[in-house]
C-alpha cells in the first residue's frame, strides 16, 4: 500500500473571529497526511476540531489560505480550471444528511448521473443505463431511478448518494459523517456496502466522523484532530491500542462500551472543560484540559513526532516515560 493517491501538506484555513473583533481563528492549521491506494484514513475529532472544514479544503470546495492537496502528483488547489475539472472526477464526497444533499426536484436516476452531465459525459441514454447499474450496485432496484428522493428512507438516500459518488469512477471518496445520522441496524448495512465497494473497486477513502467506534472499525489509519490540528496519526491498531496523545486517551475513555460487565458509569473517563475557544499559538491547544500538563505545555506548542514507527503524536510527554492514563 505504498502507492500514494493523495498527499496533503501544510493545509491551513482561517476564519474571522466571531463577534467582529480583530483577529482570526485557524479552523485548520498546518494539516498534512498521505493516502495510499485502497486505504481508509479516518479523521476523528469533536465539534469544532476542523474536520468538516478540512474535507471541504481537500475537495477544493473552500479555498485554502496555504497548503497543497496533490492528487497523483498534481496540486488540486492551484490547478488551472480545466485541469481542476478533470481532477474533480477522481475525488467525490458523501455528506451526513443524504436527503438534503440530493436534489428533491430530480428523480433519483437524474440525481445519480448529474455529475456525468456536468462533466459532459455520455448521452441521456448512457446516463439512464448507468443510473440503473449503480442502483443495483448499491442494493436498490434499477426501476427506482424514476422515483424521487423523498420516497426513500435515510439509509436508502445514503445509498443513492453513494451511487452518485461512484458515477465518475473516482479513486478517492470522502465520507463526511456519512453514517452518523443512521440507526444502528441501518448504519451496519451502509458500512458493509461501503467496505464491499472498496474491495470491489480498490477505492481509497477518507472517513470523517466524531464516532471513534465506527472509525476504529473501518479505518486502516486514524488521524485525531483537536482545534484545527492533527494531534495523533498512525495505524488504527496503534492509535486505539496504544494511544500516545492524552486527548486520544480521553476520547477512547469517554466512549461507553455496550457491555455492563466491562463498563458502568463509574468507569467512564472524565476530563475537564470542552473544546471551545481559540487556542494559543505558543501553547499546546489541549493543555487547558490535559490531566498531564506541565509548564512547558503552556509555553510552547508540541510538534508531531514519532511515538513508534509510522505513528506520530504532538505531545511533550512522548517517550518520556511519564505517560499515565487520564484519571
Amino acid at each position: 500500500m505504498s502507492d500514494v493517491v493523495m498527499q496533503v501538506a501544510g493545509l491551513t484555513k482561517s476564519f474571522a473571529a466571531r463577534g467582529g473583533s480583530s483577529g482570526s481563528v485557524k479552523a485548520v492549521a498546518d494539516v498534512g497526511f498521505s493516502l495510499a491506494r485502497g486505504e481508509t484514513l479516518g479523521l476523528v475529532g469533536e465539534s469544532g476540531c476542523g474536520k468538516s472544514t478540512l474535507s471541504r479544503l481537500i475537495l477544493s470546495l473552500l479555498d485554502a489560505d496555504q497548503g497543497t492537496v496533490e492528487i497523483d502528483g498534481v496540486d488540486f488547489i492551484t490547478a488551472p480550471a480545466a485541469r481542476k475539472r478533470n481532477l474533480r472526477r477522481r475525488i467525490q464526497i458523501v455528506f451526513q444528511d443524504a436527503l438534503s444533499s440530493l436534489n428533491p426536484r430530480m428523480t433519483v436516476g437524474v440525481n445519480i448521473t448529474e455529475p456525468m452531465r456536468l462533466q459532459g459525459l455520455g448521452t441521456a441514454r448512457d446516463r439512464r443505463a448507468e443510473a440503473r447499474r449503480l442502483l443495483a450496485l448499491v442494493g436498490l432496484r434499477p426501476e427506482d431511478e424514476d422515483r424521487y428522493p423523498h420516497e426513500f428512507s435515510g439509509g436508502q438516500c445514503q445509498r443513492i448518494a453513494i451511487a452518485r459518488a461512484l458515477v465518475l469512477n473516482p479513486e478517492i471518496i470522502v465520507f463526511d459523517e456519512a453514517v452518523s445520522a443512521l440507526d444502528v441496524s441501518i448504519r451496519a448495512q451502509v458500512l458493509k456496502l461501503i467496505l464491499d465497494l472498496q474491495q470491489q473497486f480498490g477505492l481509497s477513502y477518507i472517513f470523517i466522523s466524531h464516532d471513534l467506534g465506527v472509525i476504529k472499525r473501518i479505518c486502516d489509519r486514524i488521524a485525531v484532530m483537536y482545534l484545527g490540528r492533527i494531534v495523533e496519526i498512525g495505524s488504527a491498531e496503534a492509535v486505539c491500542g496504544s494511544p500516545a496523545h492524552p486527548y486520544t486517551k480521553a476520547l477512547l475513555g469517554a466512549i461507553p462500551i455496550p457491555d455492563p460487565r466491562r463498563m458502568r458509569i463509574e468507569n467512564l473517563g472524565l476530563i475537564e472543560g470542552d473544546a471551545v475557544g481559540v487556542p494559543q499559538e505558543d501553547a499546546c491547544a489541549f493543555a487547558p484540559r490535559c490531566p498531564m500538563r506541565f509548564d512547558r505545555c503552556l509555553a510552547e506548542r508540541p510538534l508531531l513526532a514519532a511515538a513508534s514507527p509510522r505513528h506520530d503524536a504532538a505531545c511533550f510527554l512522548l517517550n518520556s516515560g511519564k505517560q499515565g492514563n487520564p484519571p
Binding site: Q189, P256, D259, I265
Partner: protein, 331 residues
C-alpha cells in the same frame, strides 16, 4: 432491587395513536412498566420505534392529531391521564423533571437562564423571587456551572451545548422530582461532554433517590447507566429485563440482532459486520403476526400469522416472541 420497593410510577397499557381510526398509526401500543426509586430504566429503540412518544404520552404532552386512547399512568395512586390539566402542570417540573435532547430548543432564547430556572421554581414553590434566584444559583453550582451568580444573567446562546444541557438539568431538578425523564439527553453532545453529563445525571439521581426513565438509541449509554431495560420495536415493548441479562442473555431475536450489530461495529476488523436486513415496518401498514418477522433470521410460519404478546419467561424477564419458551429452571 428489593421486591418490597414501592414503585414511583406505574404505567399500564399506555396506547397512543396518530391520525384517524382508519388511516392512522398506533405509535405507542400497550406499553406497561414500573419505575422504582433510585433506579434507572432505559427505553431503547431505533428511530420511529415510539420511545419519545412514550415519554410525551405519560407527561400528556402529545399534541393533536396524536391522542392517548388507552392506559393509566399512576403517580402516588392518581392517574395522570384523567387528571385536570391544572394538576398536570404541577406534576410537570414538580414531581416529574424532564430533560430533552436539544437544550437550545428546550430553553427560551429570549430569557436569561436565571429567569428560566426561577420561573420553574416559582410555579411550584411558594417563595419570594429573591429566594428563587438564590436557589437557582445553588442549582447551577450543583450541576457544575462555574461562576453561577454571574451567569444567571446570561442567555442560552452564551452557553456551549454541554453547558446548556447542564442548565436544563438544573431546571429539571429544581423541585427535587421523584422522577426524571431524560429523552436522548446526550445525543447531540460530543463524547467527552456526554461522559460528564451522564455522570451528572447519575449522581443527581442517586443523591435524590429519584427514578429515572432514560430514553436512548445508544446501547453503550444503556450499558453504562441502566439498572433495567426495555427494548422497543414498532410501537411495542419486545423485551424487558435487567441490564446484565439484556446484554448477556437476551431472548428476543431483535435484541440479539441489535447487539450483534453493535458488537460488529465495536469489534476488531476481523469480525464481519452483522447488519439487520430490511427496515422497520410502516406503522400505518403493519405486517400480520409479529412486527419483526419480515427481518427476523429465525422466522417461522406461525410468526407471520400470530401477534406475540409480551410474556414473562422468568421473574424479571419478559419477551414478546413466539419462539421463546419459558425458562424451566428458574431458581
Amino acid at each position: 432491587m428489593s421486591a418490597a420497593q414501592i414503585p414511583s410510577l406505574v404505567v399500564e397499557n399506555l396506547t397512543t395513536r396518530f391520525g384517524s381510526d382508519r388511516d392512522g398509526a398506533t405509535v405507542v401500543d400497550g406499553v406497561s412498566f414500573v419505575l422504582t426509586p433510585g433506579q434507572t430504566m432505559a427505553l431503547v429503540g431505533e428511530s420511529g420505534s415510539g420511545k419519545s412518544a412514550t415519554a410525551l404520552s405519560l407527561m400528556r404532552l402529545i399534541e393533536p392529531p396524536g391522542r392517548i386512547i388507552a392506559g393509566r399512568v399512576l403517580l402516588d395512586g392518581r392517574d395522570l391521564l384523567t387528571m385536570p390539566e391544572r394538576g398536570m402542570e404541577d406534576v410537570r417540573g414538580g414531581q416529574i423533571g424532564m430533560v430533552f435532547q436539544d437544550p437550545l430548543t428546550s430553553l427560551n432564547p429570549a430569557l436569561t437562564i436565571g429567569r428560566q430556572i426561577t420561573e420553574t421554581i416559582l410555579a411550584h414553590r411558594d417563595i419570594t423571587p429573591a429566594e428563587a434566584e438564590r436557589q437557582a444559583i445553588d442549582l447551577l453550582v450543583r450541576v457544575g456551572v462555574s461562576d453561577a451568580a454571574r451567569r444567571i444573567h446570561d442567555y442560552p446562546h452564551h452557553f456551549s451545548g454541554g453547558m446548556r444541557q447542564r442548565v436544563l438539568i438544573a431546571s429539571a431538578i429544581s423541585c427535587a422530582p421523584a422522577i426524571i425523564i431524560a429523552d436522548e439527553p446526550t445525543t447531540a453532545l460530543d463524547v467527552t461532554v456526554q461522559a460528564k453529563i451522564l455522570r451528572l445525571l447519575h449522581d443527581l439521581q442517586q443523591e435524590m433517590h429519584a427514578s429515572m426513565l432514560l430514553i436512548t438509541h445508544d446501547l453503550g449509554v444503556v450499558a453504562a447507566m441502566a439498572d433495567t431495560v426495555m427494548v422497543m420495536y414498532a410501537g411495542r415493548i419486545v423485551e424487558q429485563t435487567d441490564v446484565d441479562t439484556l446484554f448477556h442473555a437476551p431472548r428476543h431475536p431483535y435484541t440479539k440482532a441489535l447487539l450483534a450489530c453493535v458488537a460488529g461495529i465495536e469489534d476488531d476488523r476481523s469480525v464481519p459486520l452483522q447488519p439487520i436486513s430490511g427496515m422497520a415496518p410502516d406503522l400505518k401498514d403493519l405486517p400480520r403476526g409479529c412486527r419483526f418477522a419480515p427481518r427476523c433470521p429465525l422466522v417461522q410460519d406461525v410468526c407471520r400469522t400470530t401477534d406475540p404478546a409480551l410474556r414473562a419467561v422468568s421473574r424479571s424477564h419478559s419477551v414478546a416472541c413466539l419462539l421463546v419458551q419459558e425458562e424451566t429452571a428458574v431458581v
